[in-house]
C-alpha cells in the first residue's frame, strides 16, 4: 500500500446539514431545536493511484469530487474509512506530508493581491523553506514553461484571469510537490489559456513524475491529460479505468451530422427510418445511429438525400458521461434520497 501515491479504502464523508423548512414559524422553531439530516458526500470510495499517474475526477456538481480531494489533502477528516497519501494519513497534516503536496483551486487565490508576483513566490519559498539555489532553478523552469517573465514584477491585481492562474499554478509548485491536487484549474479561462495550462500540467508530470489528481468541468482537460478517469456520482464510484474504455463501454452510438443542399421535404421521414433524429432545422440535421450500422446508414443518407456535407462523430464525452450516470441509475435503482451530494 505504501508504494501507492494515493490509497483509500471505503472512504466516507457524511455531513450533517440543518433541515430548514420555509416560513417564519418553522424558522423560529429551528432556532430552538435544529433538526439535521445526514448527507453522504462521499460514500464508500476505494481508490488506488500509482505514483506518476494523471487521474481525472469526473462527476456532476455535488458528486463528492471536491470533498474527496479535500480529504486527500488533509483538509477534511473522513467520517470513516482509510486514506493514505504517500504513506501519510492526510488529516494529521504532518509537515513532512504537506511539503510533498500542493493544492490549486481554480476559484480561490493564494497569491497576495497587492504585491508583485515575485514577492508572493518569495513568501512561499520561506514558508516551505526551499533552499535558494533550488528555488531559483525551479522558478527559472516554471517561468520559461509558463512564460511568466513579463508578469513577475506586476502586482497580482493587475493580471488577467489567465495570467493569474498561471502564477497560481507556479506558486503552488515552487516546493516541487510530488502530488498535485488540482480542483478546476482551468475554470473561467479562454480556450487558448486552457490549452496552455493543460500542456504545462502534462509537461510537469513528464519531467517530475508527479502524481496529478484533477477535477474539471471541461471534458477537454480530462481528454487531453488523463489516461485514467474516475467517475463518481452521489459519492460512489461509477467507473475507474481508461478514458477510451469509458467511451467504448458507454457509447453505443455514433452521431451523423448532415448539411443538406437545397430542399428536401422528405428529409425527416428518411432520417427517422435510418436512426434517431436528434435535431433537424434549416437544412442541418443530426442523427444518432447504433455504432455497428454507421457505414450502412451513411451510405443510405448519401444515396437518398441531397447532401452538401456529412460527418460521423463519436458522441461528445460529456454525453457519454451523462449516459454513465443514467445507466447506473437504472442498474442500481439508485433513487435513494438519502444519498444526496452537497455542492463543493
Amino acid at each position: 500500500m505504501n508504494d501507492l501515491a494515493v490509497a483509500t479504502v471505503r472512504l466516507r464523508k457524511t455531513y450533517q446539514v440543518p433541515v430548514r423548512q420555509s416560513g417564519i414559524a418553522a424558522s423560529l422553531r429551528s432556532l430552538v431545536r435544529r433538526t439535521t439530516r445526514d448527507v453522504h458526500a462521499v460514500d464508500g470510495l476505494s481508490l488506488s493511484i500509482a505514483p506518476g499517474e494523471i487521474t481525472g475526477f469526473l462527476g456532476p456538481n455535488g458528486a463528492g469530487k471536491t470533498t474527496t480531494l479535500k480529504m486527500l489533502a488533509g483538509l477534511l477528516y473522513p467520517t470513516s474509512g482509510e486514506v493514505t497519501v504517500l504513506g501519510h494519513v492526510p488529516s494529521r497534516r504532518e509537515p513532512a506530508f504537506l511539503r510533498q503536496i500542493t493544492l490549486v483551486m481554480g476559484q480561490r487565490n493564494q497569491l497576495q493581491w497587492d504585491i508583485p508576483v515575485a514577492d508572493s513566490f518569495e513568501l512561499n519559498r520561506t514558508v516551505y523553506r526551499v533552499p535558494a539555489a533550488a528555488f531559483r532553478r525551479t522558478l527559472d523552469d516554471l517561468a520559461s514553461l509558463l512564460d511568466l517573465g513579463p508578469l513577475m514584477m506586476k502586482p497580482v491585481r493587475q493580471l488577467s484571469l489567465g495570467e493569474r492562474m498561471k502564477c497560481e499554478i507556479a506558486v503552488a509548485l515552487l516546493h516541487q510537490p510530488r502530488i498535485l491536487f488540482l480542483d478546476e484549474p482551468t475554470i473561467g479561462l479562454d480556450v487558448t489559456m486552457q490549452r496552455r495550462i493543460r500542456a504545462f500540467v502534462a509537461e510537469y508530470n513528464r519531467r517530475h513524475g508527479a502524481t496529478v489528481l484533477l477535477t474539471s468541468h471541461y471534458m477537454a482537460d480530462v481528454e487531453a491529460l488523463c489516461k485514467r478517469v474516475i467517475v463518481i456520482h452521489h459519492g460512489r464510484l461509477l467507473f475507474d479505468g481508461e478514458l477510451s474504455a469509458l467511451v467504448a463501454r458507454f457509447s453505443t452510438h455514433k452521431t451523423i451530422a448532415i448539411d443538406l443542399d437545397g430542399d428536401a421535404p422528405d428529409a425527416r421521414a428518411v432520417l427517422e427510418r435510418i436512426g434517431e433524429v436528434v435535431s433537424i432545422e434549416d437544412g442541418h440535421a443530426v442523427v444518432r445511429v447504433p455504432k455497428s450500422q454507421t457505414a450502412r446508414a451513411t451510405g443510405e443518407i448519401l444515396a437518398t438525400l441531397p447532401v452538401a456535407d456529412l460527418s460521423v462523430e463519436d458522441p461528445p464525452v460529456d454525453d457519454v458521461i451523462e449516459r454513465v450516470f443514467a445507466s447506473t441509475r437504472d442498474a442500481t435503482g439508485d433513487g435513494d434520497a438519502s444519498h444526496e451530494g452537497v455542492a463543493g
Partner: protein
C-alpha cells in the same frame, strides 16, 4: 526561529503592500495625533479640577495614555489585521491554503497580515511614556523598568489570546466582525486606569475584557504600583490566555475540517 523568520517575511510583504498606498500613512498619522490630542485634552480637563484622580497623579495618567497608545498600536499593527484576514479566509474558503502549508497553522494566521502605518501609534505612545517618566521627578528604578517591560509583554500576549479566541468563533458563526467592534469599544475605556470606574465595570474590564491587564498594570508598573504578586498574576493570565487560545483554535479547526464543504 520559525516565528521570527515568518514574521520577517510577512513584515516585508506588509511594507511592500503599504508602500503602494502612501496616503494611508498620512491618514494614519493624522488619526494617531488626533487620538493623542483628545487624550491629552481629557487629562487637561481632569487636572484643571483636581490634583489626583483615584490616586493617580498627572504624570501617571500620562503614562496610562502612553501605554494605551502603544498597546493599541501593536494590536492594530499586527493582531487585528491578522484576525480580520483570518475571518475573511474562513468566509471565502481560502483558509485551505493556510492549512496545506507545512507550518503551524496558528502561527501562520497570526503573522500573515499587518498594517505598518499603525506603528505610528506605537512611536507616539513610547514618546508619551518617555515624557511621563521624565516629568515624574524621580528616576525609574530597575525593578519598575523590568516590571513595566514584563507586564507590557504580558499585555500583548493577553490581548492576542483574547482576540484569537474571539476570531476563532468565526468557525461557528462565520460573521464575528461585530464582536471585534465591541472589543474595540471596551478597549477605549483603557485610556483611563480601571480604578476610576465603578466596581461592576472594573470587574468587567479586568476579567471579561482584559483591559486592566493590558493597560493599567503596565502603566502602574512605571510608578511602582505593580507588586510582585500583581506581576505574577499578569504573567499567569497571559500564559493562560495564550494556551486557552491555542486549545480553542485547535477545537475550531477540528470543527472546520469536520463540517466545511
Amino acid at each position: 526561529m520559525t516565528i521570527v523568520r515568518l514574521l520577517a517575511v510577512y513584515l516585508r510583504v506588509g511594507i511592500l503592500t503599504e508602500l503602494q498606498y502612501r496616503a494611508n500613512f498620512y491618514v494614519q498619522a493624522f488619526r494617531s495625533v488626533l487620538s493623542l490630542a483628545t487624550g491629552l485634552a481629557g487629562l487637561a480637563v481632569v487636572f484643571s479640577h483636581a490634583t489626583t484622580l483615584a490616586g493617580w497623579r498627572p504624570h501617571e495618567l500620562l503614562a496610562v495614555l502612553g501605554v494605551y497608545l502603544v498597546i493599541s498600536g501593536v494590536v492594530r499593527f499586527a493582531i487585528q489585521p491578522a484576525m480580520e484576514r483570518l475571518m475573511e479566509d474562513v468566509r471565502e474558503g481560502t483558509l485551505d491554503y493556510v492549512l496545506t502549508k507545512p507550518e503551524d497553522s496558528l502561527v501562520l494566521v497570526s503573522v500573515r497580515a499587518n498594517a505598518i502605518w499603525r506603528l505610528v501609534d506605537v512611536v507616539l505612545g513610547v514618546a508619551v511614556v518617555g515624557y511621563a517618566v521624565a516629568t515624574s521627578g524621580g528616576s525609574l528604578g530597575a525593578y519598575e523598568f523590568a516590571a513595566f517591560v514584563v507586564s507590557l509583554g504580558a499585555a500583548v500576549a493577553t490581548i492576542y489570546g483574547f482576540l484569537v479566541i474571539l476570531t476563532t468563533l468565526s468557525f461557528w458563526f462565520t460573521r464575528v466582525e461585530n464582536i471585534l467592534v465591541i472589543f474595540q469599544s471596551m478597549y477605549e475605556a483603557g485610556k483611563w486606569p480601571v480604578d476610576i470606574y465603578p466596581a461592576w465595570l472594573r470587574a468587567t474590564l479586568t476579567f471579561l475584557v482584559p483591559v486592566a491587564f493590558a493597560v493599567t498594570v503596565p502603566a502602574g508598573a512605571l510608578s511602582g504600583r505593580a507588586t510582585p504578586l500583581t506581576l505574577a498574576a499578569t504573567v499567569a493570565i497571559a500564559v493562560v490566555m495564550v494556551v486557552a487560545a491555542r486549545r480553542f483554535w485547535l477545537v475550531g479547526l477540528r470543527r472546520y475540517s469536520g463540517a466545511s464543504a
